[in-house]
């Protein structure tokens, strides 16, 4: 399953929570928001094969 974060693509297996997927790709769940199929969701959502998953960094601007 493909996850997009800051214009980069990451691959994880499906049927895990977004929180676990975030940790697996080396990010901190506190530092990102999860958008699945265009909708903002909490990170306990289980990601399924075919979901379009985007992580939004909460740090921005400057």
């Amino acid at each position: 399953m493909r996850i997009t974060y800051r214009d980069k693509q990451y691959e994880t297996k499906p049927n895990i929570t977004a929180r676990d997927a975030i940790k697996k790709i080396g990010l901190n769940p506190e530092a990102v928001l999860v958008v699945v199929n265009g909708k903002l969701v909490t990170d306990d959502v289980v990601l399924r094969e075919g979901d379009e998953v985007k992580l939004v960094a909460v740090v921005s601007g400057g």
Binding site: N28, P29, E30, A31, L33, V35, K39, L40, V41, T42, D43, D44, V45, V56, A57, V58, V59, S60, G61, G62
Partner: protein
Amino acid sequence: MRCRKCGERAVINMRHHKLALCGEHYVEWFAAQTERAIEKYAMFSREERVLVAVSGGKDSLALWDVLLRLGYQADGLYIALGINAPIPYSDVSLEKAQKFVANGNWRVTKEDALPAPRPTLHVVDIAATYGKTIPEIARAKMRGQGRPCAACGLTKRYVMNRLALEQGYAVLATGHNLDDEIAVLFQNTLHWQMGYLARQAPVLPASREGLVKKVKPLCRFYERETATYALVRGIDYIYDECPHATGNLTNFYKTLLNQLETESPGAKLSFYLEFLRARDEGAFEAFNRTEELHACEVCGQPTSAPGRCAFCRMWDVSR
């Protein structure tokens, strides 16, 4: 996870508040919490004009949006810094700020609400006004050493203060969130910078002539909460960080503090609120020195040393 208020699917789970909310109830909660902070710290009233420092990022646009929706008289100030390499950061962030005003989504849509007047976006172009962009002045003054952040910070503080006073605003509001505040707090605590600790607060009063009152209405929100508000409200903000901020110490401290928060939910909030409590109880009072200020001989703005202020020295402004 479900919204505690209505049972719909939640968009955010705030573990430190043990509270999950859907989009609609989150926006309501965010506005109520903002109002509460404004009142608790006596930041400003609905009769006063507020100038919001707008960067085009999530925090400042979220702040402007929520203030307008709460019925405050809030205008924006965007400072065009000329940071356009390696990405067109300044140009894109200005577009975001202009788009925010133009699309009118900040209007309250309740039928009984009075139609809100269109807010003003003041734009100060640094290169057009002072002859150089921020990267150019930093290169000229620092011989290419280090980041331009010091030159940028000095310039922004000066321009914000000056425009707020000249245009008659009662208060300057910035979009600092709790993560911003505790990153600074952590740094100042690591080095026991007691003077800085004494001056860190949600409100910096206009204690001297020539200094505008500064307030941080979002200082008790986590960064993920302001980002969530911006996304739920459909605010189009710049996702990129300033290219000069990448890898800086503040972001490193934010990363450390988020690791702490992951293991111990509420640690960040507690760190900040307990600091404010200690401050209110006078823990840093002895270090809150009142420096003698002088009027800059060129621009008249307050400065700690006689002669030209740091801004006029850096920009080589003379009479």
